[in-house]
Structures are given as structure tokens and as C-alpha cells.
């Protein structure tokens, strides 16, 4: 099995006592400690303004390689915005429900259930072209027959 770890450190001087939170987890398949996520899709793409795009498609079209295979599993998604203009951002949505704005220099790391065909991770740039790095860790899918 593949062993992939995700670690985070949060540091801040917001409070009188300094904040220093660390966590690390091994990315496992759903409900097990014996088998790690062993598939990854990893890329960089420029998101232009104007349209909403499916960055990660839960099931589109129905013949998609990931159609249903990842549904309700322990998929993990990493997205980083490499824009350098602080006013630039992309809006992240899941099934048309707003999650948040990922500003220049920000990153996010979330579990993604891809619970149904509409549960796409959608991305929109409204401020300019944003270069987006993304990775999807999952436990497998089947390819379309050619």
C-alpha cells in the first residue's frame, strides 16, 4: 500500500498565548487503517475569468472514468492558488453551494465525498487568471473503454 501523509501547522500571534497547532494524518481508504489511498491526480491549470468550471467532476459524463467509483469514499483534495496579486481569488463551490474564496497564496485541503453525480468541485475566477495547483487522492477508478 502507498503511504501518504498530510501534515499541517498553524501558527499565530493572534492571542496572548501563541497558537501553534500541528496535525498529521495518513491518507487511508475509507474506514480502514490497513490500506492507504494509492491513486492520485495532480495538476496545474490556469482558470480564466468568466465561466464556472468543474475542477473535479464527480460524475460527468456518465461514462466518466470516475463515475460513481469514488462516491462516498475518503477522497482528499488539495487546491492552491498561485496568483500573486492579493486581490485575485477563485470561488470554490460544491454542487453549486459556496464553500469559500481561495485568495492568492492560499491553499485548502478537504475530504471530498463526491456523494452523487452533481457533487463536483467547481471553480470560478472573477478577478483575473488564477494559476491553480490541485491534487486528488483517491482509491481508484476505472478507465473508459476506447
Amino acid at each position: 500500500m502507498a503511504t501518504t501523509t498530510a501534515a499541517v501547522t498553524l501558527s499565530s500571534d493572534l492571542l496572548s498565548d501563541s497558537i501553534s497547532v500541528s496535525a498529521s494524518s495518513t491518507l487511508m481508504k475509507a474506514g480502514t487503517t490497513a490500506d492507504g489511498l494509492d491513486m492520485v491526480d495532480y495538476g496545474v491549470i490556469e482558470i480564466v475569468t468568466g465561466d464556472q468550471f468543474d475542477l473535479l467532476d464527480a460524475d460527468n459524463p456518465a461514462s466518466s472514468p470516475i463515475a460513481g467509483v469514488m462516491a462516498n469514499k475518503a477522497n482528499k483534495v488539495y487546491i492552491a492558488n498561485h496568483a500573486t496579486d492579493e486581490t485575485y481569488y477563485v470561488t470554490i463551490m460544491i454542487d453549486a453551494q459556496n464553500v469559500g474564496r481561495l485568495y492568492a497564496g492560499d491553499w485548502m485541503f478537504i475530504p471530498w465525498a463526491a456523494e452523487d453525480a452533481n457533487a463536483d468541485i467547481e471553480i470560478t475566477s472573477t478577478t483575473g487568471t488564477n494559476k491553480i495547483e490541485y491534487a486528488l487522492f483517491h482509491q481508484g477508478r476505472t478507465l473508459n473503454a476506447s
Binding site: 502507498a2 503511504t3 501518504t4 501523509t5 498530510a6 501534515a7 499541517v8 501547522t9 498553524l10 501558527s11 499565530s12 500571534d13 493572534l14 492571542l15 497558537i19 497547532v21 496535525a23 494524518s25 495518513t26 487511508m28 475509507a30 474506514g31 480502514t32 487503517t33 494509492d38 492520485v40 462516498n72 475518503a74 477522497n75 482528499k76 488539495y78 492552491a80 492579493e86 486581490t87 481569488y89 470561488t91 470554490i92 460544491i94 454542487d95 453549486a96 453551494q97 459556496n98 464553500v99 469559500g100 474564496r101 481561495l102 485568495y103 497564496g105 492560499d106 491553499w107 485548502m108 485541503f109 478537504i110 475530504p111 471530498w112 465525498a113 456523494e115 457533487a119 491534487a135
Partner: protein, 133 residues
Amino acid sequence: MATTTATITLSSTDLLSDELALTSTATLTTAGASTGLVGTSGLGRKKLASGHAQYVLFDGDAYANGAHKVYLKNTSTTAAEYFTIEINSEQMGKLYAGDWCLFPWEANADTNDIKIDPSADDMVLEYMLFIDE
């Protein structure tokens, strides 16, 4: 100005033929500016009451639109136990035992609540909200 940073490291020596060693650091700032976030809920823990009831962790009505950031961690050590995370009643994903997540939250509508739903009784969630005031 407060300075808050979030650093992620994704690493694996056997997922790919080449080693995966990704590190990214973000300084958490207000929307569209370089000013650091000045509000936080602090680090908290909640033990969810039995009954598997869905629980509103952060209420969209209580925060203005902004570049808030949410940190969650499932402290369970039982592999099959997870929290289902929802935003505005749409499922984001399942946070399994030991897993954590960090994501932006815009709180762009009164209904844009962050809800959690434990899969078992007496699960403990660790959480922190960084607030764009």
C-alpha cells in the same frame, strides 16, 4: 498586525516513482488585502452528544462575508468513525479518524452554515475558526 500562517506538507515515498514532497505556506489575510486576520474562535473541542444529531458548528448568519478559514480535526482513533461535513446542506466530505482539513469559508449567506454529523456516539471534534472581521 497579527500574523497567522498555515503550512501544509504532503509527502509520500511510494505513491509515485518520484517522491512526493509538497509544502505550501499561506499567510491568512483579510479578503483582497495583505492585512492579517485578527479574529479567531481559538482552538476548541466538542464531544458530540449521542444520537448522531447534525450539529451547526459555525452559523453563516453570525459572520459577515469574508476570507474566514476553518480548521477541523477528527480526534477519533476508531478507523470507521467519521464526521460528515456539510456547507449549506451540501455534503463536502467525510472526515475519518485522525483526519484534518483546512478550507476557506465565505459565510456568504445566512444559510451557509457549517454542519457536522458524527457517525457514532461521543466522538470528539477539534476545531478553530480564523475570522475575517
